[in-house]
């Protein structure tokens, strides 16, 4: 049986090597999976990992797909470091889309360079508003932010559904559930010609740098670390947990709201009943796979985005059903998460009962 032996200190080498092992193991598992499915494993792995990156357009799409994951993942990671369990980023994203998109529709006839900044600002406010509800209830009434933020996700989705089925319908759209298309003034500038890669990707990269700076170079970052690891010690040091709850939730709300408006004013170009295939939830995984570090989250987001693009490719070039993609993604994430054990532990093959446990009974 496998046995874990704690290292005296985290292995520097494994910090970088463990994802490599994970990818290696995923390849092996993938070979088995694809052979079972009767698909040549080489072709499948090519479709998943190489083909999406083999064209310039593919690379830009990777950026488009990863943008919301980066934005939300980085922000959530900061909250998770402080033990604030916001799992409702999907709802905050939706509110961002509603507020930002709403401003875009309100200023439909306005052709000014201020339309887009106003939308981005409104979206951040919308996301923050939605995140403020769990923050307020948690700090004032001690209500679990897990439940409140999750439940508000459903409420947000239904609210968007109501708006695009009702008051915000495109007046020339035969009452179909979609808003008008945004004009150029309300659309994100494209930063790479003939692609959909928009300025939101640059914003996301900026947020990565900013988050890294906050975590590692500011007092707030230090407070987050302390409170996250030892809440009592933080309290003795005079750090306010309530303040951190507010700050981390509001930051996540703003980032998720931004992600929402980036989706609607960027690649989508209008408000639709469904604007996100669960980015707010996927970002939670991304945050942890990225080990709650901004740069790690960036890399994890790109990998996750790649697996989505790869899944589409595998369906197109190999007729592999989406279900296989789900299983493969699950395996990939399992491996990534599992291999991180190597950073703090050595794996030994030996009897399951360690000397400490020996002789104990329940």
């Amino acid at each position: 049986m496998l046995r874990l032996e704690a290292r005296a200190e985290p292995s520097r080498a494994m910090i970088y090597l463990s994802p490599v092992f994970a990818l290696g193991l995923t390849l092996v598992a993938g070979v088995v999976l694809f052979e079972i499915m009767g698909v040549p494993a080489g072709d499948a792995l090519y479709a998943f990992f190489i083909e999406p990156l083999s064209s310039l357009y593919g690379l830009t799409e990777l950026g488009v797909k990863a943008t919301p994951l980066i934005l939300i993942g980085v922000a959530l990671a900061i909250g998770f470091r402080a033990n604030v369990w916001n799992i409702g980023a999907e709802g905050q994203l939706t509110l961002g889309a509603i507020f930002g998109g709403g401003v875009g529709l309100l200023l439909y006839d306005v052709d000014s360079k201020w339309v887009l900044p106003a939308m981005l600002l409104a979206a951040m406010l919308g996301g923050m508003l939605w995140a403020a509800i769990p923050a307020f209830l948690r700090t004032r009434f001690n209500t679990s932010e897990i439940l409140v933020s999750l439940m508000l996700t459903y409420v947000a989705t239904l609210l968007l559904s109501y708006l695009v089925h009702g008051p915000w319908r495109d007046p020339d759209g035969f009452n179909f559930p979609e808003s008008r298309m945004f004009h150029d003034a309300a659309s994100l500038p494209i930063i790479f010609p003939d692609s959909r890669l928009h300025i939101g990707f640059a914003l996301a990269l900026f947020v990565v740098v900013a988050a890294w700076f906050v975590i590692s170079r500011t007092l707030i970052g230090f407070q987050i670390q302390v409170i996250g690891r030892a809440p009592r010690a933080g309290a003795y040091a005079g750090f306010s947990h309530k303040k951190l709850i507010w700050m981390t939730l509001l930051f996540a709300g703003a980032a998720a709201g931004l992600a929402g408006v980036i989706e609607v004013s960027g690649p989508i170009g209008q408000l639709l009943p469904s604007i996100s295939p669960g980015y707010g939830f996927t970002a939670i995984i991304v945050a942890f796979v990225g080990r709650l570090h901004p740069v790690g989250v960036l890399l994890a987001s790109l990998l996750m985005a790649l697996s989505y693009l790869g899944g589409e490719n595998a369906q197109i070039s190999l007729n592999l059903p989406l279900a296989v993609t789900g299983v493969f993604q699950g395996l990939l994430l399992f491996m990534l998460l599992a291999c991180d054990v190597l950073i703090r532990y050595r794996i030994r093959i030996g009897p399951i009962v360690s000397k400490i446990d020996a002789g104990n009974t329940a």
Binding site: L2, L4, E5, A6, F80, W85, L137, F141, N142, T143, S144, I146, L147, V148, L150, M151, L152, Y154, V155, L158, L159, S161, Y162, H165, G166, F281, T282, I284, I285, A287, F288, V289, P321, L322, A323, V324, T325, G326, V327, F328, Q329, G330, L331, L333, F334, L337, A338, D340, V341, R344, Y345, S354, I356, D357, N360, T361, A362
Partner: protein, 308 residues
Amino acid sequence: MNFDLYLPTLLTIITAATPLVFAAMGELVTEKSGVLNLGVEGMMLTGAVTGFAAVVVTDSAILGCLAAMAAGMLTALIFAFLVLGLQASQVATGLALTLFGIGLSALLGQDMVGIAYAGLPKLQLPIVSDLPVLGPLLFHHDALVYLSFVLPAAVAWFLYRTRAGLILRAVGDSHDAAHAIGYPVIAIRYMATLFGGAMSGLAGAYLSLSYSTMWVENMSAGRGWIALALVVFATWRPWRVMFGAYLFGGITILQLYAQAFGIAVPSQFMTMLPYLATIVVLVVISRDESRIRQNAPACIGKPFHPSA
């Protein structure tokens, strides 16, 4: 609402709440041991498709339920190995398990789409089934519903009245102390996680064998997430889980009835009601911080290694 409507409405609420009771009760035991498994949705779906396939193949409802539980346990075992054996992040692994379970169930169920099944047999109990009002309300169900009635009592009894339950709670509250006393922390967490998997699998079986007797992809439609929320809602107490499941199921059903009455409110707002009500009730009952502290497992989500 006229009186004739109470009974059928309540019956509908019972069937809507039952899968939530199973999944949430299993997750409650898992969490009480200090493990947070967010993969309920994935385990439910795997259980649903496995249970359905087993019934189609063997034509035995009992085997179907057992197979669903076994499937739930197997998926929970993957999770347990990763988070307990390899110290992987519980939150992330649970979410990955959801992705995995949705895919796996779709893959397993490819040949199950379009097959019909009559549903679990309703069991009539002697005497009590013939009681007026209470008979039809409580005693005209299939075996899984009866099981969901007694499950909270069983779990409450186990957690608070047995030595094993005491140990499980000790492990969840302070794994270091429990380890120092000599309890096998990891083994206990494995068992609690497997129980959670079995119950999620059973919830899935209820979906595909009783609630809507068929297999279609993604048929749990987010109920695993609601079950997770209900454990928090219940502040980790078994009877409150039951209350939460009936509250949530009840408002979901009542808004459908209200719509059928022709209430002139956009249906999206009606559909929001159960989510909003859950928040409001939780705010009311969670104001007393000390009581939550008493019940919340202090070590939830934290990794444990004996040498740490």
